[in-house]
């Protein structure tokens, strides 16, 4: 590829699998769990984080030589907070219902550990283009997990995807419900998200034994 060298491509593909921010680096768990009861909310959250992390990485990378290291945390927080305010205002203007669902979790992107983690680990030491790719890669890795969790929780919990019924009508007993299938209400409550993520980690580490932790 002319646009991306091999090293640059790795910046995007690594976080998708073997260096996933959620399952391997253990960053950004808070929001991943709380808003994944619906696929739509997961998708919007993933896109918001992609915007904040991509743009934030570029800004921090451009300023990396002029930020005094003692106050870098506060500078980083201000940059993230500004970007998150933009996301929040855009959501309120164009998707008001959804911004009500996400509620305080949009604000909590500020303290999403992925963002500070990538600023500290990558953007402070690399140029803007590579930082941008790193930001996009990591937010894709984050988004993939969010969407997988959201997909299973919404499908098994409510029998819908993006709010559209896909398994038939539970009241009229059509489709799959005609065979006696019931929605699993357990998938809607918050702790189910933890168990779904636990299972994703299990599957991922079974496929790649190098990732298994010493107890």
């Amino acid at each position: 590829m002319a646009l991306l060298s091999k090293k640059d491509t790795n910046l995007i593909t690594d976080p998708l699998a073997d260096n996933n921010p959620i399952t391997i680096q253990v960053l950004g768990i808070c929001s991943a769990l709380a808003i994944t009861a619906e696929l739509k909310a997961s998708l919007v959250m993933a896109v918001s984080v992609m915007f904040v992390l991509g743009a934030g990485n570029v800004v921090i990378s451009l300023m990396r030589n002029i930020i005094p290291s003692k106050i870098r945390i506060i500078v980083q927080l201000i940059v993230v907070a500004t970007l998150v305010i933009i996301v929040d205002q855009v959501l309120k203007a164009f998707a008001y219902e959804l911004s009500k669902t996400l509620a305080v979790f949009v604000g909590l992107i500020i303290t999403n550990c992925i963002i500070m983690g990538r600023f500290e680990a990558f953007a402070l030491a690399n140029g803007p283009w590579r930082s941008f790719l790193d930001g996009i890669g990591n937010s894709l890795g984050y988004g993939v997990i969010l969407i997988i969790v959201g997909f299973f929780r919404e499908l098994l919990g409510s029998g819908t995807l993006f709010g559209i019924p896909v398994l038939g009508d539970p009241i009229e007993k059509t489709g799959l419900y005609a065979t006696g299938y019931e929605n699993n209400g357990f998938m809607i409550i918050p702790p189910a998200a933890l168990i779904v993520v636990g299972i994703i980690i299990w599957v991922q580490r079974s496929r790649n034994p190098a990732l298994v932790e010493e107890n």
Partner: protein, 253 residues
């Protein structure tokens, strides 16, 4: 007084920071390998929440809310600065954490030694910002309640990290499937604990607004009926006793 007690138990058990809304999960998972360190971090979280939530309550009340600036004069009544709350809250938290660190180091070196390393970590703990944002979202009314909310949600977080640290110390001796070791099993245990904490949901009658309304409706429905069945039962019992008496008499005869 009652509202204080209610908020206190509600924020510890029902709206537990970790099990109900998953705040502060990153440090919860990273610093829960040993009970001693978990206690240190938990104490620091209680402390910082107790300081920052009331601070941010004041900011929200006198600076950010719609029409909050009216104390400057009537011409400021139309300003609504609430879009600035994220940036002001996080700035308050970052500076307060720094300030608390300096003050604690100066006046209580022993506390500083036990909390010290955790304090900088806390500025980016979602539980702290989450505490302030939920305080704003739930429209907590007074300064005292805001302080109460900060302390009690801190205690909830403390209990959660203490419990998981104790379980992780013990689970080291168990034969967990290799791919689940460490992170995976911690997630699943937290999920199970979360399900356990769901059962606290019915502990208080005045939960959220919806449940409160629901309870009121239930009470309205139940109360008129409640009185009559009891009387009827009493009457029934008397009748039964009479019957029994009669039957005994019959037997005796």
């Amino acid at each position: 007084m009652l509202e204080h007690v209610e908020l206190f138990f509600k924020s510890i058990f029902i709206d537990n920071m970790v099990f109900a809304v998953f705040l502060g999960m990153c440090s919860y998972l990273a610093v829960s390998k040993k009970v001693a360190t978990a206690v240190g971090l938990g104490a620091a979280v209680i402390f910082v929440l107790a300081v920052t939530v009331p601070m941010n309550w004041l900011l929200d009340k006198y600076l950010l809310q719609d029409g909050a600036l009216v104390w400057l004069g009537p011409e400021y009544a139309d300003y609504n600065l609430s879009f600035l709350s994220f940036i002001l809250f996080i700035a308050t938290i970052a500076t307060m954490v720094q300030l608390v660190e300096i003050v604690v180091e100066k006046f209580s070196p022993s506390l500083y030694n036990s909390l010290g390393i955790f304090l900088p970590l806390i500025a980016v703990n979602c539980a702290i910002l989450g505490g302030s944002l939920f305080m704003q979202a739930r429209e907590i009314e007074t300064f005292g309640l805001a302080f109460n909310y900060g302390v009690s949600s801190g205690i909830g977080w403390f209990l959660a990290i203490l419990a998981i640290a104790a379980i992780r110390e013990k689970i080291r001796y168990s034969n967990v499937p290799a791919p689940l070791r460490g992170l995976g099993i911690t997630f699943i245990i937290t999920g199970l604990m979360g399900i356990g904490f769901q059962s606290f949901g019915g502990m208080l009658t005045g939960g959220g607004e919806e449940t409160e309304e629901a309870n009121e409706q239930v009470n309205q429905v139940i109360q008129p009926e409640m009185v009559t069945p009891v009387e009827e039962v009493v009457v029934d019992k008397n009748e039964e006793i009479d019957e029994k008496v009669i039957s005994y008499n019959d037997v005796n005869k």
